[in-house]
């Protein structure tokens, strides 16, 4: 059996779903193949930050373009994604951190961006009442915010289904051929091997995107990380914006229900799915370090209770930037993976961006720094140790 379609997307996480919806809205016939189940990995483990603050300069224009899309996303999808334009604040806890934030502010300003604003310690105390008095100041973006990753996954999934995207779960792509004007995907589903054929392909396989790229000869150095997250029992509301801390790994927010969601990029152990650890395992000492960063900003947080911790497997590209752009080896394939723990904010934008690439339209955004071919000249193929780790985890 050889089902055919205009577009096959591999990976039904947030990125794959966004691409599927955008392509479907342009009239393409879309098949979305997922090795596990929808949004099971990095998408559900995301901290949910919608952040242009402290971004790599190459990503700033993209996130700034995504922000207005977040404001209307729930209405567009007909289901609440939990987006709140709460603002994001990156705190400096000492003079060294404050100097780093000031240098950052100057650099971003010189590039022509005006969204980041320095806060003095007094302004910070007004912006974030109750923050520990040792904080020297902060860098803030007022129209940044956060959304609910799970709610967003399900809103996108439902919308994709309504639009007629064909979603095929529990089917893993194991090979990929180029037959002139078509991409041929060899996959293994619950009922055995199956072949799909389409005019175009998108690799949105997240942490597994590197292995998929390798199948066609594209090399993107990527490793798999099990990013740690934790959530507390509800506390009385004290925190509106999402907080980070310069020089520490921290993302701290309080949901509408009062729960604290704490992350920031600590990496647990990448494990085996079969172990019941769901792909990753929490490192307790790193969890303690993460929680200590939150307590440092708000000492009263120490009396909160953690009710759940989890990890999600995320693809971290060596330079910290995603791989978005056409394959160097396969004319009908576009990559969109390796968002390196900060892809969530780009979700509403990425679909149109990738669909433009598929259709050969000129993008209004400069994505040259994200081009997957940027690693092509970097020497002989060195299939990294972490790729095989990712395969094991799969």
């Amino acid at each position: 059996m050889k089902p055919t379609s205009d577009l096959i997307i591999v990976g039904a996480g947030l990125i794959g779903l966004s691409c599927a919806i955008a392509a479907r809205e342009r009239g393409m016939d879309v098949v979305l193949i997922e090795a596990g189940t929808v949004g099971r990995q990095a998408s559900s483990a995301s901290a949910g930050g919608v952040r242009s603050l402290n971004r790599h300069p190459a990503e700033i224009p993209l996130v700034r373009a995504a922000l207005p899309l977040w404001a209307t996303l729930s209405a567009r999808l007909g289901r609440d994604c939990g987006f709140r334009a709460s603002g994001q604040v990156r705190v400096a806890e000492d003079e060294i951190a404050m100097a780093a934030l000031e240098a950052r502010a100057t650099r971003v300003h010189d590039l022509g961006h005006r969204h980041e604003r320095l806060l003095s310690s007094g302004e910070l105390a007004n912006r974030v009442p109750g923050i520990a008095p040792h904080c020297r100041g902060a860098l803030a973006v007022e129209d940044d915010g956060f959304a609910d990753p799970l709610a967003t996954v399900h809103a996108l999934r439902e919308h994709a289904r309504r639009l007629g995207v064909r979603l095929i779960e529990r089917t893993r792509v194991v090979g990929l051929d180029d037959l002139g004007q078509a991409v041929v995907w060899n996959a293994v589903g619950p009922d055995g091997p199956v072949t799909y054929r389409a005019r175009h392909g998108v690799n949105a396989a997240g942490a597994w995107g590197g292995s998929l790229a390798e199948m066609v000869g594209d090399r993107v150095p990527i490793r798999t990380a099990a990013l740690q997250m934790s959530v507390s029992a509800p506390l009385a509301h004290f925190l509106a914006p999402v907080l980070g801390s310069e020089g520490r790994k921290l993302s701290l927010k309080q949901t509408a229900g009062g729960a604290l969601v704490i992350g920031g990029g600590y990496e647990g152990t990448v494990g085996h799915e079969a172990s019941g650890a769901a792909g990753g395992r929490i490192d307790p000492s790193l969890l303690a370090e993460n929680l200590a960063a939150a307590v440092s900003l708000f000492p009263q947080v120490a009396s909160g209770r953690i009710v759940r911790t989890w990890t999600g497997l995320e693809g971290m590209v060596v330079d910290g930037l995603p791989a978005i752009g056409p394959s160097g080896e396969h004319p009908s394939l576009v990559h969109a993976f390796g968002f390196s723990a900060h892809g969530f904010a780009l979700v509403p934008l990425i679909g149109t961006l990738v669909t433009d690439l598929i259709e050969g339209r000129a993008s209004e955004h400069d994505i040259t720094p994200l081009d997957p071919r940027r690693f092509a000249q970097a020497g002989p193929d060195r299939r990294s140790h972490t790729d095989s780790q990712a395969e094991r985890a799969a």
């Binding site: 999934r157 303690a288 009710v307 911790t309």
Partner: protein, 482 residues
């Protein structure tokens, strides 16, 4: 390490220590004895009044093992996380790392990590919740919680409007205990259904088979027999209760329900509900052990060998946690698991021959004693089947209390393509709250299996994440330096 100091855990720790091993025994209660002997060994507590002398003597005898050298006992302590498969790279014996919180005593409080060669899980049972509209109103508690209040604090309901509703042996016991201690119960609502199931070939023997056959041949006879246990205290009993609903504004004020005789309404100030008990598999799930659905008990149980050992792991499960069996069997299982774990850690080749033979003989004796008791246990399972969820639950009935997820929410998720318990979890947040599905997990599996017409195994069980119990952030911080 032995987790749980009830009959199974005490016996397991005793057997390990007797074989010369050092044991860390941890338990969530302030005193040993588990749920069955809760408060029995607390000399100052009211529990001494609730427990019969015989139970106090049994509890004291079981707790004697704590005097043995080699056993370190920590009460008011709980497991937070556990990790296996650590020795794979070093090539030495398998090790298990357990993060646990000792919460008692100044200076003693703290999160610590203990590395062990064997883990015996004796974490007992949880009550199966009764799902009905209005169940979250204040004034409604489980029969087990009511019993706990009596055992621990001597609190006995003595006001007007106390009602017991449910099914199972514990209901009968709680009723008797309330009345014995001068409490008052106005009505008992029997939610028991006719014993379910077809006879399974070769599954039963002797007297049990006779009784089970009777249950199949004449369900109403056995149901009445079971129900009669609830009467005899002069308490008004309603049988075949369905469509149970609690009404009230700030707290429960009255109950409504149907029986074959028609619709009933009762004033009610305190309602204790019960639908039997389930193996507590939170820790075995966290460890990723295999589980299988126990049809008679309508619950998942860990897959273990005869001695309670999980396949290819230095982990044993003993007591009600490996299938509800009661305290006597739990103690036997615990001892057997302890002996087997001792053999696994110190192979008989390193032991004097007579000692090894002695250990072997004891294991055989224990195995035989367990086998003799099993048929009676199966009969109890058949006599007290779980209440079907549809009997009382309505679309607006809350299934997950932590995240306020109703039956209607779950049905909507299933209709939208959630083809398993964990899919429903991500669609609805069912089971994502502080209790991590202790309350809703069993019901969720049964609901998904029913709606999709698949086996409970295919429907799956909620994944369990650390921490096993909500843990203070300050405890994590302090733990970082120990």
């Amino acid at each position: 390490m032995v987790v749980g100091a009830g009959p199974a855990g005490l016996a397991a720790a005793g057997a390990l220590a007797e074989q010369g091993l050092t044991v860390q025994l941890i338990d969530e209660q302030p005193a040993p004895g588990g749920q069955v002997w809760r408060g029995a060994l607390d000399r100052s507590g009211a529990g001494r009044r609730v427990h019969p002398d015989q139970a106090i003597r049994r509890a004291a005898a079981a707790a004697e093992v704590l005097r043995r050298p080699g056993i370190a006992y920590a009460g008011t302590a709980s497991v937070i996380d556990a990790r296996t498969g650590l020795a794979a790279r070093s090539g030495t014996d398998e090790r298990i790392e357990i993060d646990w919180l000792a919460a008692a005593g100044p200076g003693l409080r703290g999160l610590r990590t203990t590395t062990v060669r064997a883990l015996i899980i004796a974490t007992g049972a949880l009550e199966r919740p009764v799902l009905f509209p209005g169940a979250t109103l204040p004034g409604i508690l489980s029969a087990g919680a009511l019993q706990g209040a009596m055992k621990q604090a001597g609190l006995v309901p003595d006001g007007a409007g106390t009602v017991l509703a449910g099914q199972g042996p514990l209901m009968r016991l709680v009723l008797a205990q309330v009345l014995r201690f001068g409490g008052r119960v106005d009505a008992v609502l029997q939610l028991a259904s006719a014993p379910a199931g077809k006879p399974r070939a070769g599954g039963l023997s002797g007297l049990a088979a006779t009784l089970a056959s009777a249950a199949v041949a004449d369900p109403s006879l056995v149901a009445r027999g079971a129900a009669s246990c609830m009467t005899g205290h002069g308490v008004r009993t309603y049988r075949g209760v369905r469509q149970l609903r609690a009404h009230g504004l700030a707290a429960i004020e009255r109950l409504s329900f149907d029986t074959d005789d028609g619709h009933h309404e009762l004033p009610c100030r305190l309602l204790a509900v019960h639908d039997g008990i389930l193996p507590n598999v939170q820790l075995t799930r966290l460890l990723g052990l295999a589980h299988a659905w126990h049809d008679d008990q309508q619950a998942f149980v860990p897959v273990t060998g005869k001695t309670g050992r999980a396949a290819e792991q230095p982990i044993w499960v003993a007591g009600d946690g490996r299938g509800i069996a009661g305290w006597e069997l739990a103690a036997l299982h615990g001892e057997l698991a302890g002996l087997d774990a001792a053999s696994a850690i110190c192979p008989t080749s390193t032991q004097p021959t007579d000692q090894a033979a002695d250990r072997q003989a004891r294991r055989h004796r224990l195995g035989r004693r367990i086998d003799r008791r099993l048929p009676a246990r199966r009969l109890v399972d058949r006599l007290y089947p779980a209440v079907p969820i549809e009997r009382n639950a309505t679309p607006d009935t809350v299934v997950c209390r932590c995240e306020h997820v109703t039956l209607a929410h779950i049905d909507a998720a299933i209709a939208a393509g959630a083809v398993g318990a964990n899919r429903v979890k991500t669609f609805t947040r069912c089971g994502m709250g502080a209790c991590q599905g202790r309350h809703c997990g069993n019901a969720l599996t049964r609901i998904v299996a029913d709606r999709l017409d698949v086996s409970p195994t295919a429907a799956g069980a909620l994944r369990i994440r650390p921490p096993l119990k909500p843990t203070l952030i300050s405890d994590y911080l302090d733990g970082a330096c120990t």
